[in-house]
Point group: C2
Chain length 214, copies 2
């Protein structure tokens, strides 16, 4: 009854063509479904229609594949944030706009966390990717990582006078904390069962709190 597993994409050629990419994409799919622990070499190769050890031509070991998947996930987070930021109206005066863009960072982050819980968890599951040096894969269209997008939004807040400069240092951490914690409550905590509308409301409230509390 395993006939209809994740279809073994028969190859006509002996070579695969782009196995590295195929493995990463399989890994992303696994992470989407089951989070970081589900990113497993053997299953990824199976989905790529290739023998298990073939992976070792492209990744040093399982961890290296997981790292690549994390980076892609971080890139998706970055783009989700960028999308939300792009939706901020241009008509606001600079301080109001800076504040709206900061809220958009949080909103995009939370939107992605809800839309892709498995990938979201994966994105932040490896220390190397969370605070290590940025790689191209984890950047958005703007060339900034999620964390850098937050930082620059806070910088804008200061630049437009919406935030006193002396409150700037460390501000990313309290902002990030609030938003990341809510993502946890929504995906793995008591807010799991909440309807979209209520989640939206509590998200707005949290973002206001950050804005005012900074």
């Amino acid at each position: 009854m395993l006939t209809n597993g994740p279809e073994p994409p028969k190859r006509s050629t002996y070579r695969h063509g782009d196995l590295r990419r195929a493995l990463i994409e399989a890994g992303i799919e696994l992470a989407r479904i089951g989070g970081p622990d589900a990113v497993v070499l053997r299953e990824a190769t199976r989905r790529a229609g290739v023998v298990p050890n073939a992976a070792y031509r492209h990744f040093e070991d399982r961890h290296a594949l997981l790292e690549a998947v994390c980076e892609m996930a971080l890139g998706q987070v970055a783009r989700a944030i960028e999308n939300e930021m792009a939706a901020v109206s241009d008509d606001l005066d600079p301080p109001a706009r800076a504040r709206a863009r900061l809220r958009a960072v949080g909103a995009g982050y939370l939107r992605y966390a809800q839309a892709e819980p498995g990938l979201f968890k994966t994105a932040f599951s490896l220390h190397e990717t969370v605070d290590g040096p940025a790689t191209p894969e984890m950047l958005g269209e703007s060339g900034l990582s999620p964390f850098q997008l937050l930082s620059s939004a806070l910088d804008d807040l200061v630049a437009t006078g919406a935030l006193p400069a002396e409150r700037r240092p460390g501000a990313e951490f309290v902002a990030w904390s609030a938003v990341h914690g809510l993502a946890f409550l929504i995906n793995d905590g008591p807010l799991r069962a909440l309807d979209q509308h209520s989640i939206r409301a509590i998200t707005q409230r949290l973002l206001r709190m950050v804005e005012q509390g900074l």
Copy 2:
């Protein structure tokens, strides 16, 4: 070279005596070291000096053991919070005291997260324990769970007039979000390398933000 593993506590009697407790304690130790995934039946029985399947006399399966361990961990979180709350001065006027006690909830939570990262992660790793019905194990001396301690601190805030009643609904979620998120940044995020002093400072800042932002 396995001679000095977790010592096999030789039994003189055929019966163990209190295997259930021994398994939970072994599970706690495993969680302390490696988080929820490290809570593994075979290793727990090994540490209890008993054959693997003996565990099935006391737990339906691995998950049941993990659940028991989570509950104990939650109980520890509750007590950490209670300790911090007990340290709040009695000399403050009621509203100030209520605010200080709310901060103490967050401070205790974060203190525990730092002191026992593995157990902290374990405590909140199972949906059943995070939002299911409370069991005696997950309560502190006061008979309240961590979440209930937070709720009651917020209720006090309202009772003493430190928080307008209309802002009370949902307040636990934004407060919890902020604190839980910081715990993540400290244990698994970019604040991992930070010294105690800086962590202390950022904790205080976050707690003030919550207090004011509510």
